[in-house]
């Protein structure tokens, strides 16, 4: 299982790097989403893949019985997913707003904050 997950993580990272190298910011954002999932998978795999039961304590007992899965990385992954979701949703909203105002998502043309000195001088 671990090696399969590792391969999957590698695939996700490769795809995300490919997307992030694009000039279009929307593609970059999709790359970020893939990278975020790859990072979550890394944490998940770090807790070791075991065929255990959920880490729940049965009624009346004080310890779970049998082999249980490591609950900590799952909690971490859940937190990371939630945070990642919030950040990516914000980024998507920002991207949309930027497209509406700047009329482009091409990073070569997004020079409002750092004007290209030579070009703007001529264009002024």
């Amino acid at each position: 299982m671990e090696s399969l997950t590792a391969l999957l993580v590698g695939l996700l990272v490769a795809a995300s790097v490919y997307l992030m190298l694009a000039r279009n910011f929307l593609r970059f954002l999709f790359g970020l989403i893939l990278l975020s999932n790859a990072a979550n998978l890394v944490i998940f795999a770090a807790g070791r893949m075991t065929a255990g039961a959920p880490a729940l304590v049965p009624e009346g007992a004080s310890v779970p019985d049998g082999v249980i899965g490591n609950a900590l990385p799952q909690a971490l992954v859940l937190t990371a997913i939630v945070i990642g979701f919030g950040l990516l949703a914000f980024t998507l909203a920002l991207t949309f707003e930027a497209y509406r105002r700047l009329r482009t998502l091409d990073s070569d043309e997004m020079r409002h904050a750092e004007p290209d000195e030579g070009k703007t001088e001529a264009g002024r």
Partner: protein, 502 residues
């Protein structure tokens, strides 16, 4: 103990909730100010406790370490929390003058308080994953503040800032995952022992490099700094002062914490890389600044070059160097935030930040000119201001190690800093205004002018104070450095709690 450590984080959060609900009323901004004052009081109380006990630690939720989340304050954390509260208070006062009602309605004060809470949380946490969470709290608030108002420049800057910071966050997160996979713990104090016990130290070095890249982006070190000069000159001045003062320093703090407490197994490799990264950071920052003609862009590039000195303090890894690094960290937050605040007043008076289109500030506003000279000369390292002692310690540490080239770079960068500062001085203050305007202070109503000038004067006074009486601050930094290099007390304070509980 639990209260002392949690209050500096909880107060800004509670303030944020209240001021958001009051965002349409003038009362909101006063509550925000009161919250900043309360944060300062709480962090001062924490500082007193740390000065008394050395290291203060507490467990959230009563779960014993290393399972629960620890909050820890040693000398470094405590001073960072205090300086965060001071910067927060200064910008909260400044915002009374600068921030318009339109931005207040959009929730400026709430975002600002959440940002302060995130920064404070990052300084106080003793748990790696919790550090990630505080980084995110800080990031989401800074995203909001950066694009608040929504001008074209801000949106453009926001995209770049968000993109690069998210990548660094994900690298950091993957590093956390791998480190947990190798050691099975995320508590920083516990990691100190657990990492040393790992057989395959090469694996640890790889993970250390991931952390170095992740935090390096946040700290804006050499090849990873591009988001900073692209974004810091676009938001309102109060926001860019807080960003300039605090955000990159959280990255430096995280580097200092991780590379003194956890990743110390292969100092010859990791810290050697940091030395060269620091030297290149100093050089590129200061050379980038030399090419700029905008007040805030020059200052932005100088943040980068100054970050180099701080990481150099960590990289040299001797008590003297770390002491210099800690001292530099504190000095730089005060000075840099102040310079951005001065830029805000200059913009209000002279009508811009483009140095070629403003001028005449010295003749018409001598007070502002005097208040600019103090932090500017301190930044460049003129004796007897605070920057001189900070640079002196770092350069002395590198000479003691025989790193002559690094010492030369540090001095050379100081020289170029003077060049940039005199450029601002000459163009914004000395030369007459190109449009013949007299930028006298009464161009701005006192209602706005006074709250903007007060924090500038206060921070400048602190710079002078540290400069003339460096002794207690240097001693403090020395203790902080010793604690960093010998983390036994830190580990004991956190893990000792295990035995203390029945």
């Amino acid at each position: 103990m639990s209260w002392l450590l949690a209050l500096p984080i909880a107060i800004p959060f509670v303030t944020a909730v209240i001021v958001y609900l009051l965002r349409n009323r003038a009362l909101g901004r006063w509550i925000s100010l009161a919250g900043s004052l309360a944060s300062l009081a709480a962090s001062a109380a924490l500082m007193v406790a740390v000065l008394r006990d050395g290291v203060v630690a507490a467990q959230m939720g009563g779960w014993p370490a290393p399972f629960g989340i620890s909050l820890v304050a040693d000398y470094l954390s405590a001073v960072m929390v205090v300086i965060t509260a001071i910067t927060g208070l200064a910008t909260a006062v400044y915002a009374l003058g600068e921030i318009e009602e339109r931005l207040e309605r959009l929730g400026y004060h709430a975002l600002f308080q959440v940002l302060i809470a995130g920064v404070t949380g990052a300084f106080l946490t003793g748990d790696l994953f919790n550090l990630y969470v505080w980084f995110e709290v800080m990031l989401i608030a800074s995203f909001g503040l950066l694009v608040l108002g929504g001008s074209k420049e801000q949106l453009d800057a926001g995209i770049k800032y968000v993109a690069l910071n998210l990548v660094s966050t994900l690298v950091f997160l993957s590093g956390i995952g791998l480190l947990y996979g190798v050691t099975g713990t995320l508590n920083l104090a516990d990691l100190h022992g657990a990492v040393a016990a790992v057989e395959d130290q090469a694996l640890i070095t790889v993970i250390a490099m991931m952390f170095m890249v992740g935090f390096g982006v946040k700290a804006a070190v050499f090849p990873l700094f591009f988001w900073l000069p692209a974004s810091y000159h676009t938001p309102s001045f109060a926001v860019s002062a807080v960003f300039a003062g605090l955000l990159t320093k959280v990255g430096v703090y995280a580097l200092m914490r991780m590379f003194t407490l956890v990743f110390v197994g292969d100092v010859g490799f990791t810290h050697e890389i940091l030395i060269w990264v620091s030297a290149l950071t100093m050089l590129t920052g200061v050379l980038g600044a030399a090419a700029q003609t905008d007040f805030r862009k020059i200052l932005s590039f100088h943040i980068i070059s100054q970050i180099g000195y701080m990481t150099l303090g960590l990289a040299l890894y001797t008590p003297l160097a770390l002491m210099g690094g800690v001292f530099y960290l504190v000095h730089h937050i005060i000075v840099k935030a102040n310079l951005f605040l001065v830029a805000g007043v200059a913009q209000k008076l002279a009508g811009g930040t483009d140095l070629e289109r403003i001028g005449g500030l010295y003749k018409s506003s001598p007070l502002l000119a005097a208040l600019f000279v103090v932090p500017a000369f301190s930044l460049a390292g003129f004796p007897p201001l605070s920057g001189f002692w900070a640079k002196f310690l770092i350069v002395k540490a590198s000479i003691e190690l025989g790193e002559w080239l690094i010492a030369f770079v540090a001095l050379f960068v100081g020289l170029l800093t003077i060049f940039s500062m005199t450029k601002i001085w000459g163009m914004a203050f000395w030369k007459p205004h190109p449009e013949g305007i007299e930028p006298t202070p009464d161009r701005v109503p006192a209602r706005i002018r006074v709250p903007m000038m007060l924090p500038i004067a206060g921070l400048a006074a602190m710079t002078v104070l540290i400069g003339f009486f460096p002794e207690p601050f240097v001693q403090f930094a020395e203790t902080a450095a010793v604690q960093l290099l010998e983390p036994a007390a830190y580990v004991e304070a956190v893990l000792g709690l295990r035995e203390a509980r029945p």
